[in-house]
Amino acid sequence: MNDMTKPLLSVRGLTLDIPMSNGTLHAVRALDFDLHRGETLCIVGESGSGKSLTSLAVIGLLEKNIRRNATQMNFDGTDLLTASKKQMRALRGNRIAMIFQEPMTSLNPAYTIGDQLIEALRLHKNVSREKARNRAIELLEKVGITAAASRLGQYPHQLSGGLRQRVVIAMALMCEPELIIADEPTTALDVTIQAQILSLLVDLTREMDVAMILITHDLGVVARVADKVGVMYAGELVESGPAADVFGKPLHPYTRGLLRCIPQPGKTERGAALGTIPGIVPSLIGDVKGCAFRTRCPHAVEACRDAIPERGEPPHKFLCVHPDGARAAEGEPA
């Protein structure tokens, strides 16, 4: 049996640098996180904070110009840092599936839904077309598509955005992956169906015991589905921990700013977007020192310009010069 205490995915010190004409963009800096089987990790953070880059780094689909460094990146015993292209291909779509944001353009317009679903399975498993077809029908039904068998012959342009994203979800599940990375899977959809598709994804991953990294702007969803939460700001994981801890006792001033912008779980409306905190994000080009949030943080002090210590009691960790993340200063209970 699997060692249940050993994480399925373990990342330490993930750093992504992008050479630009005016210096190096330190897009992601020293990220640590673990994910166990069946767990859902939600990553939240503003646009440009490095969420998508992080997910692409895990499956090895970063653009060629982006430099990836880490002290450890391990997926169930496979070292992702040293894995060959062939090994990565064998993982992708098979044990690690990815769902992207844009359902309208994520499917190949030249092939039928059936072709693309069947391909997903037959790339990795030695099964007949007939068997693959049956599996495709079974999964289309699972994602709530009616008349599944007749849909197989349809082309992507014949389906609505919501249906396409259901197909994409079915495609991700074809090989029974152990990890699904979903990067804002519903952002591009109609608000009215966002919640449906998300519940579907969450229910299916729970039912099939698939671990998930869910990148989303929807804190209401995070409150509902996350086992763990990671809060990203300007390329760093400024706070991470079990969802109950992060929501119950947010330690980083940025996390509290985010949470203040939305109502609490239970009272939280679905689809509530991240609120905006005034101020601008500093440039991440060149030498990046100190806390990137200091340009917007109400508790910033001189020491915020220097290296920031990691605080908190694992697994609930945060980055701030104040030992309590300035909770006391905001009148929050210790």
């Binding site: 499956i59 689909l61 291909r89 064998a90 993982l91 992708r92 779509g93 098979n94 599936a97 990815m98 992207f100 844009e102 353009t105 994520s106 499917l107 190949n108 317009p109 030249a110 092939y111 039928t112 391909e119 997903a120 790339l123 990795h124 082309y155 342009h157 014949q158 994409v168 495609m171």
Partner: protein, 305 residues
């Protein structure tokens, strides 16, 4: 798919009829055909006699109808110059031109598409630069000049290939290269641009995320979409090649239909010119129609629109 094909077919027939009418009218646009036939020394009565004899006195639409009816049966009248039935005159020449056209476009596609794909996979690489150089050179170099260079090099200096004529397949090698090279740059660039665009699209990322290998990503997922506009272009080029290989045909003394057209225009041989224009246009229309069908087969979005 069938409604789409029928619609395109209907359109093609309409265009063909229009073109046939225009090529028929040429006879009248270029002056009084009866006077031309009767010759410069003919009297007014002679001209009238010729007019009645050839039926030029009847209403134009009736004449057009009869001309078309004859043309459809492959009967294009008699050449003013050769005094021979136009169809027998054209038949041999056409087979030369068609052989050359098919070989030319095949050569162009077989070189341009792989080169365009390779250039798109590695932009700014050596291959990309070589491809760019070849395409600029291809566009800058006049066909007759390139043809002459090949003749000097391979026929005269090295003696590997015959310099002119059409009596064996070896005679077609140099003309094929010259004609194909003329079409290559545009096809190569369109392939490269299409591939670059497609390779940046979300569904290519999806294919990679599924674990597809690079070969599969390039050919099954990318090229299949990038080739769609190339098909239309190749069809247009093919149409041009069948009508417009006059230069290549004269350089290599391949007596094809293009060469005949050029000669007939110079000789004011109207029935021959008419027939050739009609045939060239039909090729053009047929190839465009085939391109549409092929496109619809490649691009499912087009079938339903």
């Amino acid at each position: 798919m069938l409604p789409f094909i029928l619609k395109r077919l209907g359109l093609a027939v309409l265009v063909a009829l229009t073109v046939s009418f225009i090529s028929f009218s040429l006879l009248f646009l270029s002056g009084d055909p009866a006077a031309a036939l009767a010759g410069e020394t003919a009297s007014g009565e002679d001209i009238e006699a010729v007019r009645r004899l050839y039926g030029f006195d009847r209403p134009m639409l009736v004449q057009y109808g009869e001309w078309l009816w004859q043309a459809v049966q492959g009967n294009f009248g008699e050449s003013y110059y050769f005094k021979l039935p136009v169809q027998s005159l054209i038949a041999d020449r056409l087979s030369v031109t068609m052989t050359l056209g098919v070989c030319g476009i095949t050569f162009a596609l077989l070189t341009a598409v792989p080169l365009g794909v390779a250039a798109a996979i590695r932009p700014n690489s050596i291959i990309d630069r070589v491809a760019l150089f070849l395409s600029v050179a291809g566009q800058a170099m006049p066909s007759f000049w390139f043809g002459l260079i090949l003749i000097v090099l391979f026929a005269i200096q090295l003696g590997w290939l015959p310099p002119s004529g059409a009596s064996s397949w070896r005679h077609y090698i140099m003309p094929t290269i010259v004609l194909g090279y003329y079409a290559m740059p545009a096809i190569m660039r369109l392939t490269r641009a299409g591939m670059l665009e497609v390779l940046n699209s979300d569904y290519i990322r999806t294919a990679r995320a599924k674990g597809a290998g690079e070969m599969r990503v390039m050919f099954k997922h990318a090229l299949r979409n990038a080739i769609i506009p190339v098909v239309s272009l190749a069809a247009v080029q093919m149409g041009f090649m069948l009508g417009g290989s006059i230069v290549v045909e004269s350089v290599f003394a391949l007596h094809g239909a293009g060469y005949l057209a050029w000669e007939s225009i110079a000789r004011n041989d109207l029935p021959t010119v008419q027939a050739l224009i009609l045939i060239f246009s039909m090729f053009y229309i047929v190839f465009n129609f085939l391109a549409d069908v092929l496109n619809a087969w490649l691009d499912p979005r087009m079938r339903s629109s």
